[in-house]
């Protein structure tokens, strides 16, 4: 009788040695999941950035004119209205001044 009660305390969950190793393996795999998942998420992050980057470079490559100084409409803007780059009207309309915000504005 004594022997039987000893066996009962020894294995309360009825888990064999092999089953214990299996469960241990599954727990370890779950612990490793965040690492895999973080890597997956960060790599997909770069993927969409790269895809959008490529999209804009494709827009550049297929453009018939690829330098700003050859934009005919910009030239027309300066001719009909704006004068010249850094000219009087450009300073008035297309340039600005910046503000020191460290002093505390109201």
């Amino acid at each position: 009788m004594e022997k039987q009660s000893y066996q009962y305390i020894e294995n309360p969950l009825h888990v064999t040695r092999r089953e214990f190793i299996t469960i241990g393996g599954i727990v370890a795999a779950f612990l490793a999941l965040p690492a895999v998942w973080i890597k997956m998420v960060t790599s997909s992050n770069n993927n969409y950035i790269l895809a959008r980057t490529k999209g804009l470079y494709r827009d550049d490559e297929k453009a018939s004119i690829r330098v700003s100084h050859a934009n005919k409409s910009v030239a027309r803007y300066y001719k009909e209205f704006g004068g010249e780059p850094l000219g009087h009207l450009s300073h008035e309309l297309l340039h600005t001044k910046y503000i020191n915000r460290t002093k505390g504005l109201s």
Binding site: R52, L56, D59, H69
Partner: protein, 426 residues
Amino acid sequence: MNVAAKTYQKGEIPGVIAIKASACKGCDACKRHCPTGAITGSFGATHSVDVDSCLSCGQCLINCPFGAPYETSDTVDEVIARLKDRNTTVVGIIAPAVRVAIGEDFGLPAGSLVTGKLYGSMKKAGFEILDNNFAADLTIMEEGTEFIVRARHAVFGEKSEHGAEIGPLPQFTSCCPAWVRLVETKYPTLIPNLSSAKSPQQMAGTVAKTYGTKVWGKSAEKIYTVGIMPCTAKKLEASRPEFNNAYEYNKKNGRALTDKPYPDIDTVLTTRDLSRLFKKLKINLAAEKDADGGSLLADYTGAGTIFGNTGGVMEAALRTAYAVLTGEELKPLEFKPVRGLKGVKSASVKLKDTKYNKEVTVNVAVIHNIAENIKPVIDEVLSGRSPYHFIEVMNCPGGCINGGGQPIYGNGSSWLGAIRPLFAWK
């Protein structure tokens, strides 16, 4: 409104980004993406945004797994009301990065270039189009010329034609409003180094309400300008009170119909906002037919469109500066050293200034992802040891294409919402 805000002028939106306390889990994911450490609250506690150091860049918003940060300014319904008003000409100013991202909101793969469909959808909604790439080309003309003036002043001692003050080198780009705000709030001694050229958005607004009145045959009072941007900080930029140059100009020249001042940019929608607007108007961008821009203010070049990528402003500026200085086009036009996702990219260009018949070397640097990469470069400039003459800075990793106003992708707010229906407890 936050009463403690000290770094905003009267009239400005005091911080575009706020955090919804009920959604914040205190996981600290956003802090990794914040360029200035403006997010306060310890791990596990509800976070909040310190508006005085916040740049309004929105990186926390697109990277939060719980969708807790939100924009305090939402004008989608107001724009729809203006579109329905027959007396108003609503001008949509489309930034380069919008055309490679908005498709994602309508089921197209990431990076799909949908300029034609976007124009078509905009026209269907009732917009006139001013492509911000046109303004980007204009920016290059101004900012590139400014760089040449600064460089010739530094190297050859050339004086300004109009006796105006010439800024020092290195010249920083000024297109990114988050970067401009970082200089204004943290490094004010670098203000003279910032290019005085306004950002393409602000140039576009001024052009729309001055030159644009001829193009569309409407008075400036009847033109309602909407910046359509990949960026939340552009909402703050548009609200800066000094950006009413078109009104000042029209008033001075007797073209203002009333005494009521109007801003150059009336309001700003992010890419996400525009998707929402299309969906409210039952426009499916993916199924829309291609259209063209419809006026000369929608004409743009390849140099204007790459503004949305990190290194793009520099590449576009170099193409033009090289041609102006040497009299020849840059060959090949693709300037590879400034492309890619490296934190700090640098390059040297040897060229001959034909005006002075001398060889000069121009050192350029390109920085993106301010949160991680800006410090060493700024320290060099502040100590006077910087080898660079021209530096492009964009706040967001990858440039505007990954701006805080873009469709949320991958590890941003969307992923949790996307997998939640799969769980029994939701």
